[in-house]
Amino acid sequence: MAFLLKGAHAVDPQVGLDKVVDVLIDGEDIVEVAESIDAPEAEVVDARGKYLVPGLVDMHVHFRDPGFEYKEDIASGCRAATHGGFTDVATMPNTDPVTDTGTGVRYQIDRGRAADLCHVRPIGALTRGEKGEALAEIGDMVLEGACAFSDDGHGVQSAGMMRTAMGYVSQFDRVAIAHCEVESLTTHGVINEGRASTRLGMFGWPALGEELEIYRDIELCRLTGCPLHIAHISTKKGLDLVKAAKAEGLPVTCEVTPHHIFLNEDDVTAEYNTNLKMNPPLRLKSDMEALREGIVDGSIDCIVTDHAPHAKHEKDCEWEIAFFGTIGLETSLPLMLNNMVRSGEMSWARLVEVMAINPRSVLRLKPVKIEKGSKADLTLIDPEKEITVSEDYFESKSKNSAFLGMNLVGVATDVFVDGKRTLVDGQVA
């Protein structure tokens, strides 16, 4: 099957592309990029007025499969990812059983292939059962296709265990992804410690609980040489630690979620809207602003959603017993476009870096470029199309979005994965 994308504004800083072109896809690959292409056999896609970018990657999602398929499964997660404009997702291993073996990794890859919508890239657990006690079969998982390693959902509490895990990972060309949380400090915390915890009368989750472990893991990166990626960074101080590590030349990267850059603890009111309950929690407005600057100035490498589906009854309850997290795959790109690109706060080129180029690099995936010979993993975006974020909008099985009710301008309309059109005019194929 061949597609001819006519008149798209292609943006790809990897090849210095930022102009209107035609792009011809044949089979799985891009076969030509030129000002004007004629290809009578190809299906023409009118891309005038739209932006074409290398396929978006969300390197932090929870697809709950196996174990919690009532929240999401790999097929429904892939539909949500495709609807949101993504060609690749990296799935976190806190499934049941935990994805801590080659078999578990292979299961997710196979289910992803069966869904046949986007590339599913499993992240394996660092420790068995994510218990932080014994090494998982990291090498076995690498051989089966794991793209990175993390005990996401928990910090590895023992510094010694984290040192061992990072040391072991360092023999493979993979990063350790750190969910930073010192549990003796965060204990029962369910909301940012300070004004919000006082106002709403609940146990606080202090910023220090995150920052202390970021500091520890940066030092372990220095000690072991294992590349380190800090998951869902949420505070200014944490980002300052990452900036300092980068300035020293350490192999440290980090990611941030849309909810930590577009929401803060002031959004949590006496309504106790549990869709705003996150781990790490929504922080101060000043943290939020520092993180937004970090995206623009290059100190934050990736935008990820931490897509965390939960069933209605797990959120329609009292805050303190509600589950942590928000879904995000289908709002991430619209939020970035609406809140940062439209306003000129960030460029299209920077958007492509944080949502496509950098996550591929962190996950050690082959780069995708808008040039002849590259895999045709592409996202086509209508910057003027408006969406209303409602429960009906979501392809995800779960509807627990922190952004329900918002109107956003800018959304993916078409996605190509290995040359196959997986999103057609906003509809999942």
Binding site: G194, R195, G201, A270, Y272, E318, W319, E320
Partner: protein
Amino acid sequence: MLSVKHLIDTYSLTADDITQILDTAAAFESVNNARVIKKVPALRGRTIVNLFLEPSTRTKSSFELAEKRLSADSISMGGSTSSVVKGESLADTIQTIDAMNVDMFICRARLAGTPQKITENTDAIVINAGDGKHQHPTQAMLDLYTIRKHFGHLAGLKVAIVGDLAHSRVCGSLAPALKTMGAEVVLVGPPTFQVDDPEWFGCPQTWSLDEVIDDVDVVYMLRVQLERMEGATIPSRREYNRLYGLDMNRVHRMKENAIICHPGPMNRGMEINADVADCGRSRILNQVNAGVLTRMAEMYLLLGGENNGISA
């Protein structure tokens, strides 16, 4: 008429709301404290559900008596007997009760925000009888009533709230209500008991009871959750009593007209010594009495009064 539909927290109450509650409670003094027949028909035919999802003795009996005094029909549901312990969600519990057509929920809960959640699942009026570490507004009203009755006013008084501030819904609702009425509040307790953000209350905080004891009009001692705290946030009962307990030496330093309050139940010998609890300055049993009056007032103002055309 109050400016709120529900009584969930004290931040939402205006000075006028609080004054209405206290004045109405004063009008109920004769019903509860003077008459042989302690009953008025103000809420006759109205249905109230006491949903106590956490153990409570004094608050629950206070509400139940207040309901009887007002002639309301009420039922009480407890945490250990309710379907909540069988795994039913709060939303399902409330929708189930709501389907029976009730007028008011009185709710005590272990989790913050529970009363707010209830309002999302029923059209009935909700009174918060204490939710987790968040708020306990009816406790604050009975405290204000007790203090106002003694001094004749609230504005300008200095109140020290002493003890486990961080885990205290009593402090969380009393401090803002006192501020609204023009009183000054100082928060006293060890650093491990201080709230995460004292600036939110707009009150000074200190670690020394001795520093403020001779300067305040009301010493309000909070209950310390012994079972939860010993060794974790304070070293021992003995040390707490020595540093923060109200003993007779400290009582003798209080201003001539100053009083002592405690929300109960007391740990005698820990935050308050036995002889202090029973001394002439103690208003602890007056608080209990005021609990019935103020709860009658709150239920009457929210459910009766101009809302149903029946006068007290």
